[in-house]
Symmetry: C2
Subunit: 192 residues, 2 copies
């Protein structure tokens, strides 16, 4: 996606604890760009929600002088694939034994429940121990309901998550996994 | 949707030519909030895409010091309704005889084509001559292909668009029209 109207060069986020998921994000963005170019799927990262506090007007256009990041209550990526609504979030943890659930806001868990209820596809893409997993929303929610823990054990992710392999194009072919989970069993899942 | 973490009061846009569609936007936002609350549909306005040029760090969190609005290449609203992907844009014109197509970027028209191709639902909600119309993506595209004009005649919108009535809750029940257009003929549209 090209935005022609940038008047200044975009700020690049510094590498920090908060942004250590950036390479996963970049890999997903290039994968989505590939899916778009090949007309396979329409999946985009949503813009970060902000609250604008002050603007000014320059001859080149409106400039935001002060704004704040807001907390999202939905997931970061959504779109359309084979007639189905898809929504997911990408998370990275350096923790080797468990995935901390503080990474996901309660609003977002509620949202995952609703997406599933309304017959959409919802999942997390988790990068952990140098692997990238697709953990579907149903498995995420059932773990939390059963164990109500503050984190998900790596063993659970490694057993129930689907490993996404790195490749050339797309970098992370997560739709191959979506095909496996949601479309091969279509008659089971979508006919209810 | 509530965002708890706003540190400053949000800037309210002044009433101007650029913002004259705001009341339609507000009516759609309250309608979407109603659909969400009643668990009818999950439809959200996407955050405005911005390019952040400068940030600073305060004890309360990261503050954007300089940013620019970007041009969207998708439509403003998207979500999930009865298992279907929905995407639309809201447009207001004071023009009484025709709807200027300069209101829609070429990227957005391409995007509408793709959404339809991938079996999503795409449309415009147009406020014009004190009426609110849902013009489905297929009718929009076929008009542009046939007449290739810089605007759509009001007569066409009034004939082919579906009038959305104002009500109490939801303010604008556009999903009623979506039901009429896309779900009553489900076997015709979705089986191909």
């Amino acid at each position: 996606m090209k935005y022609p109207n940038n008047i200044e060069k975009e700020y690049k986020k510094p590498l920090s604890y908060k942004n250590r998921g950036m390479d996963l994000e970049e890999d997903l963005n290039t994968s989505n760009a590939y899916y778009l170019e090949k007309d396979i799927a329409l999946i985009f990262k949503k813009p970060t929600p902000i609250g604008v506090a002050k603007v000014s007007y320059s001859p080149k256009g409106k400039v935001i002088e002060r704004a704040f990041f807001k907390e999202p209550s939905t997931l970061d990526y959504n779109g359309l694939y084979k007639g189905k609504y898809i929504e997911f979030d990408a998370k990275v943890t350096k923790n080797k034994t468990s995935f901390p659930l503080a990474n996901i806001h309660p609003h977002q868990l509620e949202h995952i429940k609703k997406v599933i209820k309304h017959k959409g596809i919802a999942f997390l893409i988790i990068k952990m121990n140098e692997n990238v997993y697709l953990l579907n929303g149903e498995d995420l929610l059932s773990y939390i309901e059963k164990y109500a823990r503050k984190s998900i054990e790596y063993a659970y992710i490694n057993k129930n998550g689907y490993k996404i392999k790195y490749g050339f194009n797309p970098t992370l072919d997560y739709l191959k996994i979506v095909d496996e989970i949601y479309f091969n069993k279509e008659e089971l899942i979508w006919q209810n």
